[in-house]
Amino acid sequence: MNLTDVVNALAGGIVWIAFTCFVIVALRNAIALLQLFVAAWVFVTRVRPGEGARDLWHRYSDLALPVSVIAPAYNEELSIVQSVKALLALEYPQHEVIVVNDGSKDDTLGELLRAFEMHEIRRTQIAELQQTRIRKTYGSRRYPNLLVIDKENGRKADAANAGIGFARTPLVCVIDADSIIEPDGLLRAAEPFMYDDDRLVAVGGAIRIANGCTVRGGSLQKIGIPKGMVARFQIVEYLRAFLMNRVANAHTNTLMLISGAFGLFRRSTLVEMGGYRHDTVGEDLELIVRMHRFMRERKRDYRISFVPDVVCWTEAPVSLDGLDNQRARWQQGALETLQRHRGMIGNPRYGRIGLLAMPQIVLEDILGPPAELVGYLVLPAAALLGLIDPLMAIAFFFVSVVFGCALSVGTLVLEEQQLKRTPRASDLLRIGAAAILENFGYRQVNLWYRLKGIGRFRRRDTSWAAVPRVGFNG
């Protein structure tokens, strides 16, 4: 083999890589565009529950399935009392709040016991799903619908499982202790259960970023726009995820993720499945994937639904420092889930989940990020070397970046047309600017963080770096 052969082989390799990257990125965006159309269709034809139906629901409030809100808390002594007050005040005919103190090192438990006049009670745990020991359970005469569980430290999954095990209601709503739930969020999320003929097992809802909003006493007072660009970029990302992705997936019955910040589930299904898994950093994704698997393997008719109304607000990391950990963790979680359930990928036994939804996650999480990053390097290089048509490199730029802008702005169109939760025209324009700028730099940095996540997954990194959060000053 002489030099020419080597050069030719190398050139062939580069061209092959360039083409592969191009196809993957184009495919990924084509799917996203399709989702945008599906979401737009859903919104245009959506019948919002009218006052008539709501009126009936209020009149016969015993028909609304009682809900237990499960709030795992770890080192939240500063905010826990306010958060729990907000949870107790949620608008819902019958709901109970179960706070699980996950072995906090600060005085979270003490704050709760003092503020709500709690005393130790006996309460039977219906299903033991946690792996750590329950220390004590507390109740309060003044707040009969509040239960506090004190347990040894585990992870969020373990704390949520402990709470699910104590719930006596047909529905459970698992949240993060620092999620700010909309006053009628529970009501909105439970609405699909009113129209349900016993097939529905889980409902997710749209989550927004609370940065820039005024928060007082654990509830949202006024919607605002954060000053920092990193937070604004995330607003666009969240809109894209919740308004486009989830809405479209739920419509085709392939919703694969209900965020850990807010999810409403049928208790019996969760208990039957054994609750969350403890050994993954992406327990919320894993739960829904496993739920599909569980129901399909038992040949049950089931549905997982999504309400596009905003149910909950959550703080996002304000700087790239916190973001890198969060994104790497999400990536790592996705890979762990795919590995555990790899048997479902492309498997016709799992119907559209196996044939469509799982391959889509593979494309999105395994192939997509490296392909796009590599493409940014290889395509211009190949064009300079004269190996490919220079137009192809330009087309790659258009398919990834310009198309990305179009998708982000497209989601904003949906938001403004349907939900209108941006305070003013000027704020809308600012978010619009962020939607475009996001594609120049932020998007690429994010891909890099995801590669870091892939690295962590390969090293089997189990350390669970906490994301620094901004505090709200009340």
Binding site: A89, E91, P183, Q221
Partner: protein, 123 residues
């Protein structure tokens, strides 16, 4: 008769109240947000305040708290007229010192009777 301040950001509601209250011979001033409401109360010292809860700048319950913590203004009766009909809201409003708590949709005649009762008691 009496000076009444309406603090509400909905012009339609203001119009309805103004029509009925002026018809009953009262003198009506209007504040469109919580901050303006506080200013007006301090400047004009009205005989009664009709207060909405969801208002721009400063929300109703905080305006109420502010008024009730001021010894100069504490005696002015406040009628909360709000869309917040939750049990917790009503209790919080009455505990916070509201003389009456009415929820929207409301019966104009009822509001009028309650207001004249309060003014009779205050004057």
């Amino acid at each position: 008769m009496a000076d009444i301040l309406i603090a509400d950001d909905d012009p339609i509601l203001v119009e309805i109240l103004r029509f009925r209250l002026e018809g009953a011979g009262h003198c009506v001033t209007v504040a469109r947000d919580g901050e303006e409401a506080l200013e007006r109360v301090r400047d004009d010292q009205p005989d009664l305040v009709v207060l909405d809860s969801m208002m721009p700048v400063i929300a109703g319950p905080e305006v109420l708290a502010e008024l009730k913590s001021d010894p100069e203004l504490r005696h002015i009766p406040v009628v909360m007229l709000t869309a917040r009909a939750g049990e917790a809201d009503i209790i919080a409003g009455l505990k916070g010192g509201a003389a009456e708590y009415l929820t929207k949709p409301f019966i104009p005649q009822e509001l009028l009777v309650r207001i004249s009762g309060l003014i009779g008691a205050a004057v």
